[in-house]
């Protein structure tokens, strides 16, 4: 069993339009590197200067990884990873 990754609309240009792809890895960092090897360009949309981009939310089995170790969050076979663009903004 692999890890199923849901890809938001804005990132599907990197996955040939696919909204769900498979990946492998023991941590979110490894999963992202694995995704990058199959879908070039994806990593730079998710990681900036070694940390998760503040414009994306990533969940492992419905838990926001910000509360589970960020890039070091553990991921196991059969897990779901969901990527969503953060919805935010402000007056400036």
């Amino acid at each position: 069993m692999a890890i199923t990754v849901s890809i938001p609309t804005i990132l599907r240009t990197h996955t040939g339009g696919e909204k769900s792809v498979e990946a492998s890895g023991g941590t979110l960092a490894e999963v992202i590197d694995n995704l990058e090897s199959n879908h070039g360009g994806l990593k730079s949309r998710l990681v900036k200067d070694g940390v998760l981009h503040r414009f994306v939310n990533i969940y492992v089995n419905d838990e926001d990884v910000r509360f589970a170790g960020g890039l070091e969050a553990k991921v196991a076979d059969g897990d779901n990873v969901t990527i969503l663009p953060a919805v935010a903004g402000g007056s400036r």
């Binding site: 939310n57 969940y59 919805v87 007056s91």
Partner: protein, 141 residues
């Protein structure tokens, strides 16, 4: 037909009422629909930042919203928020966060007590393009 937001009057009123209610904090939410150009279901969201100058959907709320839209075969047609002391125009922060290239970004300004501004924009690849808003009583099929 060029870019335009066609939106039912009751949805416009729901957005403005939400913005007034949360003033002076920024109000935010989504109108989901079967396609980006068919806003149907009003979904006001909690502004987790509870701020007069910043808004953010709480991350758990965001996930639930997208799961719900997925289950109903919906997409976010409108992403709205209010500016409470500035004009209804996307700020630099708004533009940098705009992650739904097909959505209509609606801005409401509640800086004046007796009037409001209601404007719509497409934000794609960091570029802002205002579009006209056409308010209708109901959608033609």
């Amino acid at each position: 037909m060029g870019p335009v937001l066609v939106i039912r009057r009751d949805l416009v009123e729901a957005i403005v009422e939400h913005a007034r209610r949360d003033h002076p904090d920024e109000a935010c939410g989504v109108i989901a629909g079967p396609s980006p150009d068919r806003p149907e279901r009003f979904v006001p969201m909690l502004n987790a930042a509870r701020s007069p100058t910043f808004y953010e959907f709480e991350s758990g709320d965001l996930l639930r919203l997208y799961r719900e839209m997925d289950a109903k075969d919906e997409v976010p047609a409108v992403v709205y928020h209010s500016h409470t002391a500035t004009e209804a125009y996307p700020s630099r922060t708004d533009v940098s966060y705009a992650g739904e290239p097909e959505a209509h970004y609606v801005l409401v300004s509640t800086r004046e007590p007796d009037t409001h501004e209601f404007r719509s924009y497409r934000i794609v690849d960091g570029e802002v393009a205002e579009e006209p808003v056409e308010i209708v009583e109901s959608y033609r099929e």
